[in-house]
């Protein structure tokens, strides 16, 4: 099922080639597998395919053997020989490389049995991990470019838009605007030239959905751009991608070239009168460039500063021409909708937010990775079933969604079925799909400060509310984490947050205070502890730490005294030691070296 060439081979070894697995040496693994297959003389029968991300980054590098449908995890390069000798040559499953269910200790051999994949419904990620993203024939074998063919030969332009409208698809870039409507508006804007832009700036730090789609299935985005181009009468498409994604850029370049070679891009596509060209543009590290008007300014070569809307890009966009901007994941949903119909798509998810959403699950959760679930799935299911719960059996504290524009959601809302609207109601937002899990060791004031540092850094400086206001917010937060704030600071923090929200020019400023407001709402007690008790309950804020040796636990091994750079830990051998709190510089060296957990800092 995985490839057109598979007929010639009796077996495919699909190896994850995403950025994550690449870092855990999957390229080296591929080389080793290939040479082992060569040694066994099976190179004409068995093929090694470097695919896109499987999503299960925690367990990488991943190797899936087809058609046997066996899923191996954490396959380090030194296991290549074992895998080839046992599985490939003798057909015996290598049990030590199977995924082990943490609770039952049962070894699972099929991908679909693994809890991480069980509740997933992969539409946008349908091809990731199944095809070789650098081989257009594999994409075509997986129904690739059929949607474009169908649209060009048997659907009118309004038909295409009608189908997208019927699906109820909403923009996955954060705004959640109905995609069909956006296409319709751009279609209605009269102009000789129009543009499609694919927003692959993926600015939310900690999110990697778009990267994985582009690395694993670049053609799905190109095909969707061409369909959009047909529907709205655009002849040119731009992909704006961040420079930090070299692998995705490479795969896109290969894909574009292959599509041109087969006449699936360029002049008179599939023999019709429709022509469409695609260009790549690189971002240069500015979060605000993800905002559509800023992105347009950046493509035009200038500073990526946003401009006031209206006029919307659908009327006046790139080079002053009507422009339709869609996110990568939005586009990845288009082809299935054209092929299977808008009604099918609308039957998945919730009424107001149909379809699925890809989340980048990260932070203090056991199964870090990419998950695609129907809208309306509960946070608890994502974090505790798919995600396998919190790392090291720590206690869950909060989950952050929506990136720097979003909020922190506490335990009491874990059973909320999530969609665009429900997340907004509990003070966060869907955003692009970043989902960062935090445990008892994370200080929520410090997290709010982290996000504010981010927005202060990334504010383009155009409007005063955002440029100056957020700086003041950050100063207040810094005072709080350093124990220099009064209760009145908290009042001012709240008031100013509201003012910035109301008066900023673009989405960046309007949402920047959200991390503060949501943490103040749900973790007020942590703010109070910092301000009134001058204490950081999570033991994170350095200025407030009080290092202390618990006499009962101290064995008097003297390790801490030796490690202390200031030499201020005293005590006799085999007797409890003492830290001179006045002279302590809070470097944490003593805590790190203590083998008995006798040093605390809270």
């Amino acid at each position: 099922m995985s490839s057109s060439n598979a007929v010639n081979y009796r077996m495919d070894l699909l190896v994850c080639g995403g950025t994550g697995c690449q870092a855990t040496d999957s390229f080296d693994l591929v080389e080793k597998l290939k040479s082992q297959i060569q040694v066994a003389g099976l190179q004409d029968e068995v093929r090694v395919v470097l695919t896109g991300c499987f999503g299960f980054c925690e367990q990488g590098p991943i190797v899936k053997v087809m058609p046997d449908n066996i899923f191996y995890v954490r396959v380090m390069p030194d296991k290549a020989e074992l895998l080839v000798k046992e599985h490939v040559e003798k057909g015996r499953i290598v049990h030590e490389l199977l995924y082990e269910e943490p609770d039952s200790k049962e070894k699972l051999d099929e991908q679909s049995d693994i809890p991480f994949y069980k509740k997933q419904n992969r539409i946008a990620l349908r091809n990731c991990g199944f095809i070789d993203p650098e081989n257009i024939n594999e994409y075509i074998a997986a129904e690739g470019y059929m949607a474009l063919g169908k649209a060009l030969t048997s659907m009118t332009k309004p038909d295409v838009i009608e189908e997208i409208k019927k699906s109820g698809l909403r923009g996955r870039g954060g705004g959640g605007f109905p995609t069909g409507l956006k296409w319709e508006y751009t279609r209605k804007s009269q102009a000789k030239e129009k543009y499609i832009i694919c927003n692959a700036d993926e600015g939310d730090p900690g999110a990697f959905m778009d990267r994985s789609i582009l690395e694993g299935d670049p053609h799905s985005v190109l095909e969707a751009m061409a369909i959009a181009g047909y529907a709205i009468d655009a002849q040119k498409g731009y992909i704006y991608i961040r420079a930090e994604y070299p692998l995705a850029i490479h795969r896109l370049k290969v894909a574009v070239q292959q599509a041109y070679e087969l006449g699936l891009l360029g002049k008179n596509i599939l023999g019709t009168s429709f022509s469409f060209d695609v260009y790549l543009k690189y971002g240069a590290g500015a979060f605000v460039c993800g905002e559509e008007t800023a992105l347009i300014n950046s493509i035009e070569g200038g500073r990526g500063e946003p401009t006031v809307k209206p006029p919307f890009p659908a009327e006046i966009g790139l080079w002053k021409k009507p422009t339709c901007i869609n996110n990568v994941e939005t586009l990845a949903n288009i082809c299935p909708i054209i092929l299977d119909g808008g009604e099918w798509f609308a039957s998945i998810g919730t009424k107001k937010s149909p379809g699925t959403k890809v989340f980048a699950l990260a932070g203090k959760v056991n199964n870090v990775g990419l998950v695609e679930v129907p809208m309306g799935t509960k946070l608890r299911d994502i974090i505790f079933e798919l995600g396998g719960g919190i790392k090291d059996n720590k206690k869950f504290k909060a989950v952050q969604t929506g990136g720097p524009s979003g909020g922190c959601i506490p335990e009491e809302f874990l059973d909320t079925p999530i969609d665009y609207d429900s997340l907004g109601e509990i003070g966060s937002m869907m955003g692009s799909g970043g989902m960062i899990v935090m445990d008892e060791d994370n200080c929520m004031v410090n997290i709010a400060k982290f996000y504010l540092e981010f927005t202060v850094d990334e504010s383009c400086g155009r409007c005063t509310a955002c440029r100056v206001g957020n700086k003041r917010l950050l100063e207040m937060l810094t005072h709080i984490t350093e124990g220099e704030a009064e209760m009145e600071t908290l009042e001012r923090l709240k008031d100013l947050s509201q003012i910035i929200k109301d008066s900023s020019l673009c989405g960046l400023g309007q949402t920047a205070p959200n991390p503060i407001l949501s943490t103040m709402k749900y973790f007020w007690h942590e703010y109070i502890a910092h301000v009134q008790d001058k204490n950081c309950p999570a033991g994170v804020c350095k200025a407030l730490l009080k290092y202390h040796i618990i006499p009962d636990k101290c064995k008097g091994c003297t390790l801490c005294a030796k490690a202390c750079p200031k030499g201020i830990i005293t005590g006799k051998v085999k007797e409890a030691h003492i830290i001179d709190k006045e002279a302590c510089i809070k470097c944490g060296e003593c805590e790190r070296v203590c083998k008995f957990g006798a040093v605390t800092r809270k």
Binding site: C57, Y245, Y282, G304, G363, V368, I436
Partner: protein
């Protein structure tokens, strides 16, 4: 500003206080573009690729070549964090400060790296051997905390791994498998 002063200079390559051969390469790149409209960011990328950073003279060269104000080039170069106007060290270590890495303690790793490599002011050690800076999410969040050493990704780096990481670089081994595969 310095740039304005420099404007009085001639347009001969030799007038720029940078490597002439490199400047020629950049000039050829710009000449090879179909149109220069909208290409400023790509040109600056190329320039940084060639020179390692964006010296003021290079910015001035680009401005003259494109016939646009130097202030525009400077404005774009300072807007994007990808561009740097300071020369970088021989080895560049970038610590990811994306959210996923931050909640797993990448800030502690950053502090440790800076203190071990004795980087006090700016981002580069005095001997020019090391630059330690930050990046915002390279999309390998599954391996948080992530550190890039000369563009090679190292995953799950803890404070205690910093020594081995530095030793790996100074021994000329860019990758430490035991660090990566933990």
């Amino acid at each position: 500003m310095v740039l304005c002063k420099l404007l009085g200079m001639g347009i001969f390559m030799s007038e720029y206080k940078v490597d002439t051969e490199k400047l020629h390469r950049l000039g050829d790149y710009i000449d090879g573009l179909e149109r220069s409209e909208g290409e400023l960011i790509n040109i600056l990328r190329e320039a940084q690729e060639i020179f390692g950073y964006l010296p003021q003279d290079v910015q001035l060269f680009i401005a003259r070549k494109l016939g646009i104000p130097a202030a525009k080039v400077f404005g774009v170069a300072t807007f994007y964090s990808f561009f740097t106007m300071e020369p970088r060290g021989k080895n560049v270590i970038s610590v990811c400060m994306g959210t996923a890495c931050f909640v797993k303690g990448s800030d502690l790793v950053l502090d440790e790296l800076r203190s071990r490599l004795k980087i006090v002011n700016g981002n580069t050690s005095e001997d020019g051997m090391y630059t330690v800076d930050t990046v915002r999410c390279i999309g390998a969040c599954g391996l948080a905390p992530v550190v890039l050493v000369n563009d090679k990704v190292h995953g799950r780096v803890q404070v205690d791994d910093v020594d081995a990481l530095i030793k790996g670089i100074s021994d000329g081994i860019a990758s430490k498998p035991e660090l990566v595969s933990k």
